[in-house]
């Protein structure tokens, strides 16, 4: 009997925790819509080869700048074609892959570096704290896009360098957030108890303090995800991010700039794609914050 309850309890509490989280999350209708749209974007990205009617790089010279919903000898162009006759819908679907990829890589990079720096600064304090946080302040003092531009200019244009630059610019936010959380946690009794139990600095930092600082970091990570997509699109638009013919949304916008007045669809659809996915992720992040922050919970 005791064996049975024992195996049931942990899964039960995890499930309970999730149920509680979901209860608060679904209160926020915007967050649920955001989540749904985000799931759609993920599906589009994963199933891009299945869903897209054309090869994203194939050019149909007899259908340059075809309007949306035009039929041609090659098939139906749902969202029209761009200046060199590539199907917009296919390119947008493949572009979703790039956007998600950029979001994930940038968030992982900036999160890991920022968390480690913030943890070191908060935990050791003193001159370690001073040096790390002053460097973070310097980075924060610049407008983020401008700094990213400078980094890309130094590293050379390209998607990889653009992601590294964006991660560098975003990482101080994570460092500050982590440091603040660590400062408030590190003087609590349970940290002292772990120290008395003989835990070393490494164990105290990563095993004791860090898991208790995660809630604000998760929220910041989701919000940074959308920012990363936006910044990457901006860099792409300026010609410093993904290089053509990559079907990255920002790059697509940049290529289509000259045809704004002649063919509205070439700029509208990539722009809408960026707008909708960034909006969805931001809404989701807001909901996540409300659900994870105990101070905002109504009991």
């Amino acid at each position: 009997m005791s064996e049975v309850t024992e195996t049931n309890i942990p899964s039960g509490t995890r499930r309970e925790q999730f149920a509680e989280f979901w209860f608060y999350f679904k209160e926020n209708r915007g967050a649920v819509i955001g989540l749904a749209v985000f799931v759609l974007v993920v599906i589009a990205a994963v199933l891009a080869p299945v869903l897209s009617p054309f090869d994203p790089d194939a050019q149909y010279r007899d259908a340059l700048l075809a309007a949306p919903m035009t039929d041609s000898a090659h098939g139906h162009f749902w969202l029209g074609t761009d200046a060199v006759g590539r199907d917009l819908l296919s390119r947008l679907l493949y572009g979703a892959r790039y956007s998600l990829f950029i979001g994930v890589v940038v968030v992982v990079l900036s999160l890991s570096v920022g968390v480690i720096l913030g943890l070191l600064a908060g935990w050791f304090g003193g001159w370690v704290d001073t040096i790390i946080m002053r460097v973070m302040d310097v980075i924060l003092a610049f407008p983020s896009l401008l700094l990213a531009l400078v980094f890309v200019a130094i590293l050379g244009p390209g998607l990889t360098n653009a992601m590294i630059a964006i991660a560098l610019v975003m990482q101080p936010h994570f460092a500050r957030l982590t440091r603040a959380a660590v400062l408030s946690e590190k003087n609590k009794d349970y940290v002292m108890a772990a120290r008395v139990a003989g835990a070393g600095n490494m164990r105290l930092m990563f095993r004791t303090v860090l898991p208790n600082c995660l809630a604000p970091l998760i929220v910041q990570a989701t919000l940074s995800f959308s920012n990363a997509i936006l910044d990457a699109a901006a860099l792409g638009f300026l010609g410093l991010g993904a290089q053509p013919p990559t079907p990255e949304w920002g790059t697509m916008l940049s290529e289509a700039r000259e045809f704004i007045l002649r063919a509205w669809w070439v700029v509208t659809f990539p722009g809408l794609a960026i707008l909708i996915s960034v909006l969805a992720i931001n809404l989701m992040g807001d909901g996540l914050r409300d659900a994870l922050d105990p101070k905002l919970k109504r009991s």
Binding site: R195, V196, A197
Partner: protein
């Protein structure tokens, strides 16, 4: 007689209080949280440390286990001065000295299960112990402190205060320490739960031969649990000695005042008893009175109290007062009990 398990000699803890508004080159004011405390505790005995809030009880406990930088000496088993050890050398002794905290829930990591919390000391102090063996050990200890083994995978917030304190005790006992420091282990608990936890501590002490340093501000609890008592005021020792003698015949005016403030569960006596009230407020520990720290509030204060810090021994116990002696009105009340 063998050497005492732990002996403190002239232990001092000072903090530099630097405010943000101070200039960086100014000397910050110093706070002497613990000032020249000495005691010796034999194996198997229980020492009670009592005093008002802010008198340095917890600081003293933290200094003993090197959680705060301290001056003086802490002699372990008559041989090693713990204060001279490097953190790495200290690790060997950490498992011999464990601690129980005041706020039971706050002292448990909210993200760890009870099993992980109790096993944490084993991970660092017995790294060779296998996973199975560790789990077995955790179960044994849980049983010993009155927790059900099937609660091993729960999280701290699912437990009541008393149960949380049991988890804290289990964590302290899992490495089989020789000395257990209890920092107000029951003051955050309901009275009925207090009794349970104290009974548990008593049982454990008897069964495991533990030596305990018991910090409290509840005098009746201390009287019940401790063999010896030390009274602190503003980081200094006032009176120290065997519990019964200290409680029945206090010599120091501060001890007398403390004892006379303990409520008596008989309204008749309680109403008629005379309080020895100390005048005024607790002086700022940043700027304690010269000489005897109690002199600003002491009914017996005279000129010598302002000039020299008192040291005296009366009837085999330490009474740090220039004018020690029994107080008849307190004696009468104490006799009633």
């Amino acid at each position: 007689m063998s050497a005492p398990l732990i002996e403190a000699r002239d232990l001092r803890v000072t903090f530099d209080i630097r405010r943000a508004s101070d200039l960086p080159w100014s000397t910050p004011p110093r706070l002497r949280a613990v000032n020249g405390v000495s005691f010796a505790l034999e194996e198997g005995k229980t020492l009670g440390i009592v005093g008002e809030s802010g008198c340095g009880k917890s600081t003293l406990a933290r200094a003993l286990i090197q959680m705060l930088p301290a001056e003086g000496q802490v002699i372990w088993q008559g041989e090693t001065d713990l204060l001279e050890l490097s953190p790495r050398q200290m690790l060997k002794y950490r498992s011999d000295i464990q601690m129980i905290f005041q706020d039971p829930l706050a002292s448990l990591d909210p993200r760890m299960t009870v099993g992980e919390i109790i096993a944490e000391p084993l991970r660092t102090h017995r790294p060779k112990m296998g996973r199975k063996e560790r789990r077995e050990k955790v179960r044994q200890v849980m049983e010993k402190v009155g927790l059900l083994p099937n609660q091993i995978n729960r999280y701290p917030h699912e437990f009541s205060g008393g149960q949380c304190q049991r988890i804290g005790i289990a964590r302290a006992l899992v490495v089989e320490p020789k000395l257990l420091i209890c920092d107000e282990p029951v003051s955050a608990l309901d009275v009925s739960i207090q009794a349970q936890v104290i009974a548990l501590l008593e049982d454990l002490r008897r069964d495991l031969g533990l030596t305990i340093i018991f910090i409290a501000h509840d005098l009746s609890v201390v009287r019940h649990v401790c063999d010896e008592v030390m009274v602190l005021y503003l980081g200094r020792m006032m009176e120290a000695g065997p519990t019964e003698r200290l409680f029945t015949a206090p010599q120091h005016p501060y001890t007398q005042a403390l004892l006379s403030a303990v409520p008596i569960p008989d309204p008749e006596v309680e109403r008629s008893k005379k309080l020895i009230a100390l005048e005024g407020d607790l002086p700022s520990p940043l700027n304690p009175p010269s000489g005897c720290p109690l002199r600003t509030r002491c009914p017996r204060a005279s000129e010598i109290c302002a000039s020299e810090p008192p040291t005296a021994t009366v009837e085999g116990r330490e009474v740090h007062c220039h004018h020690p002696g029994p107080a008849p009105e307190v004696q009468a009340v104490l006799a009633e009990r």
